[in-house]
Structure formats: structure tokens, C-alpha cells
Amino acid sequence: MTEQTTIMPLDDVRVLDLTHLAAGPFCTRILGDYGADVIKIERRETGDPSRGLPPFYKDEPGTERSGLFMFLNTNKRSVTLDLKSDRGRELVLELARDADVVVESFAPGTMDALGLGYVALKAANPRLVLTSISNYGKTGPYRDYLGMDINLYGMGGNMIGAGDFDHEPVKTAGRMVNYHAGYVAALATSLSLTSVELDGQSEQLDISVFETATHSIDGRLGRLMGYEHNGHLSSRPTRAAAVASGAHPCKDGYFLITGGARFLPNIIRMIGMEELLGKPEYATPAARANPDLIDEFLAHLIPWTLDRTKAELRVEAEKHGVLGGPLNTIEDLLNDESFVAREYFQEIDHPTTGPVKYPGYHFVLHRPDGEDGAEISMPKRRRAPLLGEHTDEVLSGALGLSVGEIERLRADRVI
């Protein structure tokens, strides 16, 4: 059970988690991070399909070996249940009665087909928030379309503008579009909890991954607005889109700099060529917007970056107010001085892996009495549950079922 000693904002909220794979579990993982009691319902025997997806610990597959599952399911309790059986469905409705939120990520229509649609859940609990996450939403012509991250980013995100002018558009890394949708779902859920507190009425949320991507200010929203205002379609930038901009080679890798007419003077000062600012072609923002300067200035800049390491360039950029950053690998990130000093990555022990570092909290609450506000007050996360680890605990604790009743459910292959 919970070893929580700290007050957390969602520690009075119970979430019944019917989600699987990426977007839904990312949502409930965040709710769990801030104190919610997340009861994850998993399919009997196989569990959440993400248990079958890499990366596996030491590359060996197994129900309790997926790093993806471990990452996405911290702070949750696992109950195995056959949703298609009558008794299983009844148990879900009973759990929903005591829950504040149900989150699900089935294809549209599936919950209704299972007899667990909004009407049934609302009848069980008139103050419930039902958060539904799907690729395209519950309505509209694409409702039944399928979508992997690459498809959803291409349709919704700024893929057409991502990459190089002479090459194909590229996606964002991994499952980012789905994770972002899960994050939006967590925000939506907390807002809806507020709404239910105000009027006592249940609410249904319809979250479309496609729409959360189109809505995203990752350049997509900005470009959509830009197009509306001036009719320019965006295409992928050439390697150096503005003077001094680009990922420039340096001693031990690449360093990204944002230049352009407005920011160039700081870059010029950084490389110690102040005399350029006295020349008419560099003196004013209007002059510096001239695309002919791009190549000319790179001839000054790149020899200078080539002489320095990523770490040295980062310090120089900070010192001169230059917008820039090193192109790190994940290994660089894990060893980065600031992330290390702030103890961002959290070690979590798991029976399969032993202690392993996980990404830290999205944001941290400070201790209310901390004098300078620098004291963080966050509990340690609990590892992802083993399949069905909490079935008995939840059925007896939350539903008050007897040992005999639980045994019978097990014999009937409901749990």
C-alpha cells in the first residue's frame, strides 16, 4: 500500500484505469504522480499489451520485463479482470461507484459494446468523470481510422515543417504525440473534477490525439495561424534558415544556435567580432535580415564553434545571452551536470531489474513552510505493479469481497 507521508493534491482521488498502451497510461501515470489512487484493470494472463513491447530488460521479453510498461505504470495498482464476462463488468461498475474518475483508451464504441458506456457508468456513479482518449475522437469521419504516432504527427503536428528542405519530413521521437495527448487528458480530467465539485454532475471528456497534436503550440499552432494571416504555407527550412541559425559542428558534436536579425549581435559579441557591428551590412536589424549574409557569417562562426566543446559553447552562450544548446544524446542527458545536481532522475527498484533510473516528475511541489521555497516535497514513486499484484487487495479492500468470493471469481476465470 501507499507509504505516503506527504499531502498530495490528488490523494483524495481514485482513478479506475481501463487504459492500455501509451496515451492512456501516460495520463494515469501523471495522475498517480500527484497522489491519485490508480487502479489499473488488466486483461487476465497477458495484461496491458505494453508488457509485450520493448525495450525489455536485457532484451529478453517477458510479462514483467518491459521497460515501457515499467515507465508508464508507476504508482498504480494492478487488478486482472475479464471485462467481457458479466461478473467482470459488474465488478468494474462497482469499482466505478467508489471512483472519481474512469479513464479509458479503447477504440470509440468499445466501452458501449462492453456495457460500460457513459450511460452505464453515470448510472453507477452520478458524480463520475469519464475520460476517453482515442486517436481521432468519438465522432467525425476519421473516428474509426487507425493511427500510430507517425500518422498522427503527420496529420496533426508540424511534420510538414520538420526537417530539411531537400529531404522528407520527419516525425518526433518515439511515442511523443501519444504521450502529449495523455498529458492533455490529465489536465482535462483535473478540470472536470473541479466542474463536478461545483455542480455535482458527471462529465464525459472526449480527447482526440489528432486534435491535441493540431492544437499543440509545437510550431504547428503558430504556423497554422501564420498561414491564416499571410497565406504562406510552411515548408521545411533549409539547413540555415536565418543568419547564424543551425546545428553547427563543434569539437565533440553539434551545437544548436538560433540567430536571425534580432539575435545576431549577441552572437557576434560571443565570437569576439564586434567590429562587424560597425559595418553597414550588420548594423541594423533590416540589414541583418539579408539572406546573403547567411553563408558569409557561417564562415566566421563555424571555425569558432569547431574550436570548442559542447560544454564550452553552452557556457559561452549563457554568458552572452545567445539562444543555443548542445545536441546531446540520452547518455549525455543522464550525465548532465544540472540534471545530476538536481537529482532529477529517480531510481526505482523492481524485482526484475533491481534499481534503475527513471525520468523524474514533470513538476514538483515545494514544501509550504520552506523559507526560500527551495525545498521540494515529493514522495518517492512506487514501481509499476506485477500483473494482478493487487487483485485481492483491491477486491477485498475497495469492494469488501470475502476470501471465498475472491476464490470463486478466480475459479470462474473472471480475475
Partner: protein, 440 residues
């Protein structure tokens, strides 16, 4: 009681909340946009003496050459106009439903205005490097002393502590440091070609809005306000969770994946008929592979030993992608998507802005909503990023505030300054609708 400009009858869940907004660029403003959309009275606090770059434009008065060179950061018809800060498309978008006042907080009377406002507010949101906020004396010590019930969300890129605390970056630099562009860039080109999207900004905006709501819950529990630190880089790293885990569990470092999937193939973007037209196709299982071959009228491919199972297809994906790419070149992207989706193969058009704005699915779901800005004109704005059954279609109600647009309402109605005092603030350069001429 505050007003949020809502025209509908349905009460919005955040009505009655007042939030002071010191956000800049995109990530912070996107967070207060969420809160304003749902009814909070968000008041942007701006100064006529200081222009926060890339918020109301890259520059207050950009030369025409610059407007043309950076056309995707749009002004109406590429014309920045007399008051460019009121015509910048991105600001006007995320500024909807918010209010804006001007005050120079570097002067004592400006600080007094802030104190008065803070006492009757629920909290503060800012996304600046700590040193900038210290200069204005907007710190947790100050905020909690003036209003012990205030919730404060601070979102500097790398946190309030550590050696990078005053390292000023945008989303793309912070993402570079966090490993994103090096993972997603092209396998066959040097990292100089790395793309620079900023999904981190979007995630920070969502996260900070969520954090503010949690802060309100926490305040109710502990009986006083709370400081929440949402370092945007730390907020972003979980979105790379798969890569972090593969490294910490197995020591594996993924780089330059482009459109490759870890193990699925085909999984790529393919050129279609038309100008810069592309379609994505991803195959998750053998059924989908057979269907794809059938649609391409290349049934024999399904039995080809090079492509017979997922592992072989992944190993031979370059060959496979060129076969599929040859086929797609002869078709329209929308045709490929719809045809493949009919047989349950994941596929999607890489939509440009025009296609997204005209997309029938988004229109049918009420994703867009028109709004008129007095100095910029009428455009389609996005609705909320999800549909809530009790409050559908609520988002864009009032145009983004012009610089200083709500001075009169806040100074006089909310803070109760007299006409004489108001005029005094005007004469001393706190109140106005134009940046000081010295601002570039």
C-alpha cells in the same frame, strides 16, 4: 467576483479565479491560454518600457525585411502595421480570453500596483529565468508574503536551482540538451540537418496549467498557497521515456532514427502526387502488411522472403520503402490514406496548413471557431483541445488583449484608483497602449 467575458449561459469551471500572468514566448502563454479558456480571469502584466522578444512579436517594431524573412510568424498580409504588437498572429491566438495591463514594475509605484492586484488574486504564473523575476521582485518569498493563499507556478527552463538556472533558452535548445533532435534526425545526413520542432513548449503549457489546478487543490488541503516548480526541460524528458529506459536498463543509445520505428516496418513517410505532398504508412502486424500489398496490387510482395515477417521487413526497410514510395508517387496523399484506412492499415496525410484548416474531420467536430480582433481581422481559432460534455464549444470568446487594453478596467474597476490617479499613471508612463519609443 471577476468577469471572464463569457457570453454563454453555462458557467465555466474556473470562473471566479484571478491569475497574474508574467509568461513569455510560447510555453507559458499556452498554459494561461488553457486556464483563460475555462473561465479564469488571466491578467497579463506587461511594461511599456520592456519588450519580451517573441511574445508580441520578435521585435516591437520589426523592419519590413524581417517580417518578410520570417513570414511563418505571421502578421496579417505580411504587414506589421502601426502597432505590430497587436497584430502578431501567435500572440493573438494564445492571448484570447485574457486581459492585459501595463505597469512598470521597476519603479516603486509599479510595485504597489502589483501588491494590490496580488492581494485579490489566486496566483501567479511565469516562465522566465529566475534572475529576470528577481529584478521585478516577483519571487515566492514576495508573493507568499503579500498573499499567503497564492499559488505560484514558476517554469524556468532548467529549474530554480542548479548551475543552469539562469541559462536562457527556447524550447528547441532545451530539447537539444535533452536529447530530442539527435534521436529524431535523419539517419543518412549529418546532425546539421536536425529538425527543430518544439513539442516541449506544448507539453510545458499543458503541464503548467495542470500544475496550477493541482496547486489550487493543495491550497484547499493545507490551508495556504504553494510554489510549484515546473522546469520545462524536466517536464519534457518523460516524453522521451522509452529512450531513457532503454539506456538505463540496457545501456543502449538511440540516435538518428528519422522516421524509423524501433521494430515495425514499413513505417515511414512517402512522397505523393503534387507539390511537397506526403503520406505516412505504418504496419503493425501481418494482416495489415497483406492488406497493404493488396492495395498496392503487389500481392507477390507479401510472400517475398525479404519481407516475409516484421523482422525481415525491418532489416530490409530501405528496399521496402523505395518500393512503397514508387507506388505512392502515382497517387494523391488523401487517396492513399482513405484507401488504406478502409482496410485498417494506419496511414495519414502529412497535412500542410491549408489542408489542416480545411480538414473535414476537424470541421465536423467544431475544432475551429472564428474570432475578430480589432487590429488584425477575423480568423479561425482553435477551440479547446478536448471536448467536455457539459461545456462544449466555449473557447474563443474575446479577442487577445491589445497592449494595455484592460488598463481602465483593472486600475479603476478592480483596484479602485480614481480618475486623477489613473491620469497620473498615464503621465508617468505606466499606462498606455504604445511601447516607449526607445523599445526596439
Amino acid at each position: 467576483m471577476t468577469t471572464n467575458g463569457s457570453s454563454g449561459t453555462q458557467k465555466l469551471p474556473l470562473e471566479g479565479l484571478r491569475i497574474l500572468d508574467f509568461t513569455v514566448v510560447w510555453a507559458g502563454p499556452y498554459s494561461t491560454m488553457q486556464l483563460a479558456d475555462w473561465g479564469a480571469e488571466v491578467i497579463r502584466i506587461e511594461s511599456l518600457q520592456h519588450f519580451a522578444s517573441t511574445t508580441r512579436g520578435v521585435m516591437a517594431r520589426p523592419p519590413v525585411e524581417m517580417v518578410r524573412a520570417q513570414s511563418w510568424l505571421g502578421y496579417p498580409d505580411d504587414d506589421a502595421g502601426e502597432r505590430p504588437w497587436n497584430r502578431y498572429s501567435v500572440f493573438n491566438h494564445h492571448g484570447r480570453n485574457k486581459r492585459a495591463i501595463t505597469v512598470d514594475m521597476t519603479r516603486p509605484e509599479g510595485q504597489e500596483v502589483f501588491d494590490k492586484l496580488l492581494r485579490i488574486s489566486d496566483g501567479v504564473i511565469e516562465n522566465n529565468v529566475p534572475v529576470s523575476m528577481e529584478r521585478l521582485d516577483v519571487t515566492w518569498e514576495r508573493v507568499s508574503a503579500v498573499n499567503p493563499n497564492a499559488v505560484m507556478i514558476r517554469m524556468p527552463a532548467f529549474g530554480l536551482t542548479g548551475s543552469y538556472q539562469n541559462y536562457r533558452t527556447w524550447g528547441n535548445h532545451m530539447e537539444a540538451l535533452s536529447g530530442h533532435p539527435l534521436i529524431r534526425t535523419y539517419p543518412d545526413l549529418t546532425p546539421e540537418y536536425a529538425p527543430q520542432g518544439v513539442p516541449a513548449d506544448a507539453a510545458s503549457g499543458i503541464g503548467a496549467a495542470f500544475a496550477f489546478l493541482l496547486g489550487l487543490r493543495q491550497r484547499r488541503k493545507i490551508g495556504k498557497g504553494v510554489l510549484i516548480e515546473a522546469a520545462t526541460a524536466e517536464n519534457f524528458v518523460p516524453l522521451l521515456g522509452d529512450f531513457v529506459m532503454d539506456y538505463t536498463m540496457n545501456g543502449r543509445v538511440w540516435t538518428q532514427m528519422g522516421n524509423d520505428h524501433w521494430y515495425l516496418a514499413p513505417h515511414n513517410v512517402y512522397r505523393c502526387q503534387g507539390q511537397d505532398a506526403w503520406v505516412t504508412i505504418a504496419v503493425e502486424n501481418e494482416d495489415q502488411w497483406v492488406e497493404l500489398c493488396r492495395v498496392m496490387r503487389m500481392e507477390s510482395l507479401a510472400g517475398d522472403t525479404r519481407f516475409v515477417d516484421m523482422e525481415s521487413r525491418h532489416a530490409n526497410r530501405i528496399e521496402l520503402d523505395s518500393i512503397i514510395g514508387e507506388w505512392t508517387t502515382n497517387h494523391q496523399a488523401h487517396w492513399v490514406m482513405n484507401r488504406l484506412q478502409q482496410v485498417k492499415v494506419p496511414s495519414g496525410v502529412v497535412m500542410n496548413e491549408k489542408e489542416a484548416l480545411e480538414d473535414k474531420h476537424l470541421h465536423e467536430r467544431g475544432f475551429w471557431h472564428p474570432l475578430t480582433h480589432p487590429e488584425a481581422g477575423t480568423y479561425q481559432y482553435v477551440n479547446t483541445p478536448w471536448k467536455a460534455s457539459k461545456t462544449p464549444n466555449i473557447a474563443p470568446r474575446r479577442h487577445a488583449p491589445r497592449l494595455g487594453e484592460d488598463n481602465e478596467y483593472i486600475y479603476k474597476e478592480v483596484l479602485g484608483f480614481s480618475e486623477d490617479e489613473y491620469r497620473q499613471f498615464e503621465e508617468t508612463g505606466h499606462i498606455g497602449m504604445d511601447y516607449d519609443p526607445s523599445v526596439p
